[in-house]
Symmetry: C2
Subunit: 427 residues, 2 copies
């Protein structure tokens, strides 16, 4: 059973996929019964130098023509970015062609619209590769756990920042040095903004939360804070207190509504996510029936991402050949989105203070007035000055911020040197 | 869209599933668009006391009538055991009804036959819950990774033995004491034979290997060795050498063929599987494109297992309503099955020897003659006697056995006190 494949995008993932579909053609037929034939590959520039060869009879720089080509039964979109990828994907769905995409930015921004179009046309829109690279997480969330009332998803979904944080923790490097090292080794791009600002992780958090809770959450509703201002000294202090800093995507559903956010988070050292080092990704899922699940693996790279795309291609091709009117795997219903200020968080706060009687009482008073209670305090004196570390109990994010804002105006506080959120025990 | 469900089996999993389908009916409709209506539950005894209630109009002790009932569109088999479950599943498939089963024993024994029947009838046969309880692993292996040439699957797939081994390692308990504790806490059954002998894990290894490699491997071809003879002293020695003992399912594909086996294995402490403690399960998957993936979670229990069953039910119901002729997810082709003797393994050997000059030379000579080279040796003297620990390099399993057999006849060897296999770096 032959299926004609068109690939939009000739980058690392497109190249790995093309190569694999050519090299492993016979093995794929044996294992799945499907003859997946690449019939067109659309690239931005025909003349660009590549580390792999696209056969001359396949390559084109006309992506819309690829989509329209009657020989193309199924479209793979691995070009990335919102435009023109979004319109090309819509065009394919409109023509009744199933689409497999690895494009987290597009799915996070226009997923609801694209999924609706796919449903109207009765075709599949699959995006396993959009989150966690080669880690199967989209399919487990939207199929295996379709019947579970998932309460929380915690993810390390950006390998670049995890690499940088691992190096800062393990080797006491500054953020700037760890970033430079990551760039030299190819773990970070020349312009690392999307990674270190948390924007990439926020797109993935939006997708994970949407699938887990069945309510579409736009990336614009995802609170995010990057890792740029983290300092090695807080890594050390956190370690002494039994925590490791991670850039965490946190998706929660409670009786009050759903939420998704991305920020540096102190994770307890004995939590499974603390063991995720270097450029690896991991997703931790919690639900009342299933308990706790961990999915871990390579979160990026041509090979792993192409594997995830290929799994989707096989799935979509199988449905295409069944000539079924495909119902969507998950239906999205409106849900109440919680503002980040309403969410309970725990904070780690490092203050530089003058070491005089009554200082702690003044600081504790500020927290108390804001409705935040303090769980633990450590003070390290240095003559006239002292460093004060505090971890608060769970309290409203808005109150935590109000407390910290008020600290700035205390005369005994020289500097609010660091604030990092701490992982709560439950949503 | 209503789907009539019949449940074969009123045990823990059946009860959790029934309860959940009743309690969460509206939520499932909202999330999936499917109205899953339980119309019959078949139990062995109508009068048995249960911790949950089966509505009187649903309960029956006639499983074949349940299968034949035209109101039943989809059959869930959670009764366990080969008979009569196997014939009931076949009967349902024969009638064109999709089947979801949690029965690893049945799938491992008759999977090839059942899958073929499902294919002939164009209906789904799904069994996510058969391996790893609530951990999504069957779907990732057979769908997400359908295009990958998986080389190795390592699994901790039996929670009872993992609990016992964890307690032996952490608390220096004897096997008998750890087993008794597990029985008291409900982690082990009154008759623990299937767990501690490795039979349960062997069934799961057969399923994992079959799906990973696309060649059906019967449970009868799976080599197995249980944990009964492990001693705390070897736990301690292994720990000193940087290893932790686990009952591991090892499924491999090399150019020489496929294989599956279950035996106690010393896992390096820095391997992700070493962190899997207590009654948890985990599966580690390796492939050339995807790299290394880890799936971890609760491997048993009513809630987790029912969640996995429900995911399959939703998937099968969705396909049923699409009225598609369903193609199988994986096709199985004949493959060369390697005999365990042909496989390369590494061994840990503990010998009690007389402490005299030339002893090590004699022992090393025995290994050398069998074609096994020794990686490391530790000796601890106690006057006239000594304990000798050795770890060998990879060598043919048959040669490792020949070496150990020959040691028995050496006069300087008082006792071959322990042999445990050590995890190899690659298949």
């Amino acid at each position: 059973m032959k299926v004609g494949i068109g690939i939009l995008g000739g980058g690392t993932v497109g190249g790995s996929l093309l190569q694999y579909l050519i090299d492993e053609k016979a093995a794929i037929v044996a294992k799945t019964g499907l003859e997946l034939e690449v019939r067109r590959v659309a690239v931005r520039s025909l003349s660009k130098a590549r580390t792999f060869t696209i056969p001359a009879d396949l390559i084109t720089d006309q992506p819309a023509q690829l989509v329209d080509d009657p020989a193309i039964d199924l479209v793979v979109e691995v070009m990335g970015g919102r435009d023109p990828a979004g319109d090309l994907v819509l065009r394919a769905l409109q023509a009744g062609k199933p689409v497999v995409t690895a494009n987290k930015e597009l799915v996070a921004a226009r997923g609801a619209e694209l999924i609706q179009r796919a449903e109207e046309k009765g075709v599949s829109l699959l995006f396993e590769a959009a989150v966690g690279g080669g880690i199967p997480i989209i399919r487990p969330l939207s199929e295996s756990l379709a019947g579970e009332r998932i309460t929380r998803v915690l993810g390390i979904v950006n390998g670049t920042t995890n690499y940088i944080l691992s190096r800062m923790s393990d080797e006491n490097l500054s953020f700037a040095d760890a970033l430079e090292e990551a760039q030299v080794l190819g773990f970070a791009e020349a312009d690392p903004t999307a990674d270190i600002s948390g924007a990439d992780a926020a797109a993935k958090a939006a997708i994970l939360a949407s699938l887990a809770f069945g309510t579409w959450i736009s990336v614009d509703s995802v609170f995010r804070e990057g890792i740029e201002s983290l300092e090695p000294i807080d890594m050390r202090f956190a370690g002494d207190l039994g925590y490791l800093p991670k850039l965490l995507a946190v998706c929660e559903e409670t009786a009050e509504g759903v939420s998704a956010r991305v920020h540096p988070t102190l994770v307890p050292l004995d939590h499974p996510l603390a063991s995720v080092r270097g450029a690896h990704n991991a997703v931790f899922v919690e639900g009342p029936q299933v308990g706790e699940l961990l999915f871990m693996g390579p979160g990026a790279g041509g090979g792993p991402t192409a594997t995830a795309v290929l799994g989707d291609v096989i799935d979509a091709a199988r449905e295409l050949l069944a000539e079924a009117q495909v119902a969507p795997r998950i239906r999205f219903a409106p849900g109440r989105l919680r503002d980040f200020g309403e969410i309970e968080t725990k904070w780690y706060v490092r203050l530089e203070v003058t070491d005089a009687p009554g200082v702690l009482a003044k600081i504790a008073g500020v927290f108390g007035e804001a409705g935040v209670s303090i769980k633990s305090v450590w003070q390290e004196g240095r003559g006239d000055d002292a460093t004060l570390l505090m971890i608060t109990h769970d309290a409203l994010e808005a109150n935590q911020r109000a407390a910290v804002a008020a600290l700035h105006s205390l005369d005994v506080v020289t500097e609010v040197a660091a604030t990092i959120r701490v992982q709560s025990d439950e949503p």
